[in-house]
Amino acid sequence: MEQILVNGLYLGAQYALIALGLTLIFSLMNVLNFAHGQMYVLGGFVTYTIVSQLGLPFIVGLIGSAVTLAVVGAMIEKFLFRPVIRRSHREESTMLLAAGIAFFLDAVILLLFGEKQRGVPKIINGVFNWDFRIIMPYDRILIGVLAIAMIAAFILFMQYSRAGRAMRALAQDRVAAQLMGVDVDRYSMIGFALGAMLAGLVGGLLVTITGVNLGMGGPTSIKAFMMIMIGGAGVISGAIAGGFILGMMESIGLTVLAAYGDITYLVIFASLMVFLAIRPQGLMGKPWG
């Protein structure tokens, strides 16, 4: 039992961090970023290149991923999303753009980094074993702690920094924020860059444990979508809650339902649909997000 909870916590921490970036972008621009998973993969490959191929320390790889993705995110917002949002009649049109970007990043990743699964050597060896009741490798504990620290840092940033406050104002009411003198264009760009950076950071963190391959992008996006649906789209606390809930559900479901065959995910997905039918705005979302 303890093991299941610990697994769920670890999964939840990494999921929450992925969902945070997605929900930030959504809350600022009402864009469902289909390319979020691809950004995560790109972050993983950047860290891999820096650590495994150039032989630099892991922390350099992480910073490299964060910077690369922040730049990529800012570019995408400035040159792609901004003009399209301005000119399209229906805001859903950005979905096609986001999907196009997802395909594009997939293609670039395939050409630059190849089709193989990549990984970075373990950063710490050894396994924490408490009487076979909780077994957790040290590197997983480290990554889990780092993920939680990053989530905390992100919340503090959003809460107390000038940019964070501006972005929260933007998310609440775009027009009102503009009237109050918030530079909408600037903070949209910063927000997008920040969201992309978070995706890159998770990619960089997880490359040490799960590795990375170009196929992970799409499924990661879908998982992240599910998490923000559970918590409520565009709400930061909701994304965190959604991440932990999905992590817990997987951990428990995979153990309890293992005997019944291939139904764990069927049950998770079906219960998510039922949940949303009963509570359409998720746990903490605004109605009709």
């Binding site: 753009l97 999907a99 050409l111 139904i263 997905f269 949303l276 359409p280 705005q281």
Partner: protein
């Protein structure tokens, strides 16, 4: 647009689809285009369904689920109950329509991205169900499904047995094109009827239309079930061509593509999904010669297209004549 120009347009389209295309293929010897165009026709039927849900203001990323269900209904009826393919085709559509009523009643209360995400999950649920249910033969899929058989009335052969045809590709193309024409005619009729006006009112403001006495719940379910009907028959038709079906025959990528087809063609235009499907599918096929750069070029073109025409390709018409 006057009635006569509209009729002329329809006649020209029918001529192109049923006469010019077969003639051009025979003349150029590009027989592989038959399958490409058959796919386009069928995928555009499914996309037309997605478009109809867009029309009531819902982003539908779950059409792959109904295509898969439709395919399985057709395959199971043919292999286990010995039905004729031609009977299973409408049955697959009806089954999907019925199923979509059950699923739609709760989930159509959702809006915006919430509805979009639930439908996306629905595709995955369909795949996992196909793997888990005994009737679908699970992971092994259903293979060696017979080709469509003969249909005759009073000894008169209406549709010949596809297995005896010298060129089943042409036959499949004609059937698919006919289905496509029928579906788009139906869609056009719906959009330009009272029902269509009500749907538009739903797209703009649901509360308002409910307040003036529109039965929004009924309308939503009706539109969604028509949409799913389209998905079901498209899926069933594909089964007849590939003579096999697997849980992965229609997956999330297909659902997303159906949606992209609608965006690309233009959400404000009935024939948007048809044009969008043609371009997306044909585009990928034509880029096949570029080898490893295929995806790069394809996605770059998508992005550029979106930057130039964010409201879909058919929005070009707006600029010229300002008409819809």
């Amino acid at each position: 647009m006057s009635t006569s120009t509209r009729l002329a347009g329809v006649a020209a389209f029918l001529l192109a689809v049923f006469v010019l295309v077969p003639w051009a293929i025979a003349a150029s010897g590009r027989w592989d285009f038959y399958y490409t165009l058959t796919s386009v026709a069928l995928l555009s039927i499914a996309s037309a369904g997605v478009w109809l849900t867009f029309y009531i203001g819902r982003i539908n990323i779950g059409q792959g689920a109904y295509a898969l269900v439709g395919g399985y209904v057709s395959a199971i009826l043919m292999t286990k109950a010995g039905f004729s393919f031609w009977l299973t085709l409408p049955l697959a559509g009806l089954f999907c329509a019925g199923l979509s009523v059950l699923i739609g009643l709760p989930i159509l209360r959702l809006r915006g991205v919430y509805f979009a995400m639930v439908t996306l999950v629905l595709t995955e649920v369909a795949r996992l169900s196909a793997l888990a249910l005994p009737v679908t033969n699970g992971a092994k899929g259903i293979t060696s499904i017979p080709l469509p058989g003969e249909v005759s009335l009073f000894g008169l052969t209406l549709i010949p047995d596809f297995a005896t045809l010298a060129n089943p590709k042409l036959a499949f193309y004609l059937v698919a094109a006919l289905l496509m024409v029928l579906c788009f005619a139906a869609l056009y009729r719906i959009v330009n009827s009272r029902l269509g006006h009500l749907c538009r009112s739903l797209q703009q403001n649901e509360e308002l239309s409910a307040s003036i006495g529109v039965n929004t719940a009924y309308l939503r379910v009706l539109a969604y079930s028509i949409s799913s009907f389209f998905g079901g028959i498209a899926g069933a038709m594909f089964v007849a061509i590939s003579q096999s079906i697997y849980p992965s025959s229609f997956q999330v990528a297909d659902s997303v593509n159906f949606m992209l087809n609608c965006f690309l063609g233009g959400l404000g235009y009935v024939f948007g999904p048809m044009l969008g499907t043609l371009l997306l599918y044909f585009g990928w096929d034509l880029l096949f010669t570029t080898g490893r750069f295929q995806l790069l070029i394809y996605s770059s073109l998508l992005i550029v297209l979106m930057l130039v025409l964010p409201n879909g390709i058919l929005s070009l018409l707006d600029r010229k004549g300002g008409r819809r």
